[in-house]
């Protein structure tokens, strides 16, 4: 059967916005609590101020106290913020590991289908052996997926939709 076609989320998606979903620790999750600030810019360097950003992490495993999923709304500066538990490593093929990361899906007016990417963390030694980071030959492009420390428990990453510093997006 043919899959149903994707269409843009449009400018009025905030009718399904529930700001509390951006805090994945709101049910009392246990672990290393972090803030993750994501800045979104378009091909002109302009903020993507009407985007929806969804975050999913497979670790720690989702349960009643940790949904693993969040949604946040970009503000006029193109920034959104999640509060979550820092993810752990995930098994890869063989005896290898995927470095700790969050999966992201970006929806916006002007995007007829989502942009998928990942956020890794600069302090993780496993980044050096992560199979997905290793599949990106250009070090500058690889760095586009790695959040930098922005405070003792805060991380920040810029996502560029188009152009010279374009973020690596995934084919899913």
């Amino acid at each position: 059967m043919l899959a149903t076609g994707s269409q843009t989320i449009g400018p009025y998606w905030h009718l399904i916005l529930h700001p509390e979903w951006a805090d994945l620790t709101r049910f009392g999750a246990v672990g290393e609590r972090i803030g993750l600030t994501i800045g979104l810019r378009d091909g002109d360097g302009a903020p993507v101020g009407d985007a929806a950003v969804e975050l999913w992490q497979a670790t720690p495993p989702a349960d009643a106290r940790f949904p693993g999923f969040g949604r946040a709304s970009a503000d006029a500066e193109g920034r959104c913020r999640f509060t979550t538990i820092k993810p752990g490593p995930l098994p890869a093929a063989g005896n290898a590991w995927q470095a700790p990361h969050c999966a992201l899906a970006i929806f916006a007016r002007g995007l007829l289908k989502p942009l998928f990417t990942r956020v890794y963390f600069a302090d993780e030694a496993l980044n050096a052996e992560d199979p997905l980071l290793g599949a990106i030959a250009d070090p500058a492009r690889r760095a586009s997926l790695i959040a930098k420390a922005a405070g003792p428990t805060d991380w920040a990453i810029d996502i560029v939709l188009q152009g010279a510093n374009e973020t690596v997006f995934l084919e899913l």
Binding site: Q7, I9, A62, G68, P91, A108, K113, P131, F169, L170
Partner: protein
């Protein structure tokens, strides 16, 4: 999403907002060495944490203005297997073509008895159903005298991020479909025609509401085997 004929491209020149937002680089395919990618593992949602709201036709103690409709269908994967317990989010304009949203400046009235958000879950057969009113067409600034066809926005979660779908359901016989760059961005006429609901007299409830059938197929079945919740 590769060269899948069922999906639109990122870059669609007739839809002006794609020009500065469509990526230019080739997308990175997930390396096989990932084995179980995060993107295939979740999320999952349960009605306990995400309360269903299956009747958009009433709000704040009164009935919304407009043509009452029932929308129902089945959610399956590409192999035709039902997707059970899947969350579907719904949002739409009111009968006058106005969203209850601060950024919507269209000169059409708000309706105190219509908000326009809904949420339902599929049953064991992948079936879903909600009640609403038929949304109105509304203008947008993509090109001179541009109007969006009547549509309902739907957001769906399958087994994993890789199956994530946000789409729009359209109505049969709408003359604006042939002029709409968002609908026309799906190049294959048969694929885009599947975004148009079918009027269904069997679903129609006498003296109450018109029935529209809209079946939805999520891609990526092979990458994301579906589990019974």
């Amino acid at each position: 999403m590769s060269a899948d004929m069922s999906q639109p491209p990122y870059d669609a020149p007739a839809y002006a907002s794609t020009a500065r937002r469509a990526p230019r680089q080739t997308l990175l395919a997930l390396p096989a060495a990932l084995a179980a990618a995060s993107e295939a593992l979740g999320p999952r949602f349960a009605p306990a944490g995400y309360p269903p709201l299956a009747d958009l036709s009433r709000h704040a103690g009164g009935a919304a203005l407009g043509e009452r409709i029932i929308v129902a269908g089945r959610l399956t994967d590409e192999a035709g297997r039902p997707l059970r317990g899947a969350m579907i989010e719904i949002w739409q304009a009111n009968a006058a073509g106005r969203y209850d949203h601060p950024q919507d400046a269209h000169d059409a009235p708000l309706d105190p008895h219509f908000h326009g958000e809904g949420r339902v879950f599929t049953d064991d057969d992948g079936a879903y159903r909600f009640v609403s009113i038929k949304p109105g067409a509304y203008p947008w600034r993509n090109h001179p005298n541009a109007w969006r066809p009547n549509h309902i926005h739907l957001s769906l979660f399958g087994a994993g991020f890789a199956q994530r779908l946000i789409t729009q359901m359209y109505f049969p016989g709408d003359p604006l479909l042939a002029l709409d760059p968002i609908y026309l961005a799906i190049a294959d006429p048969a694929a885009r025609a599947r975004l148009v609901a079918r009027f269904d007299l069997a679903l129609t409830e006498p003296e109450w509401a018109l029935g529209y059938r809209f079946d939805i197929v999520l891609r990526g079945a092979a990458a994301t085997p579906m589990e019974t919740p």
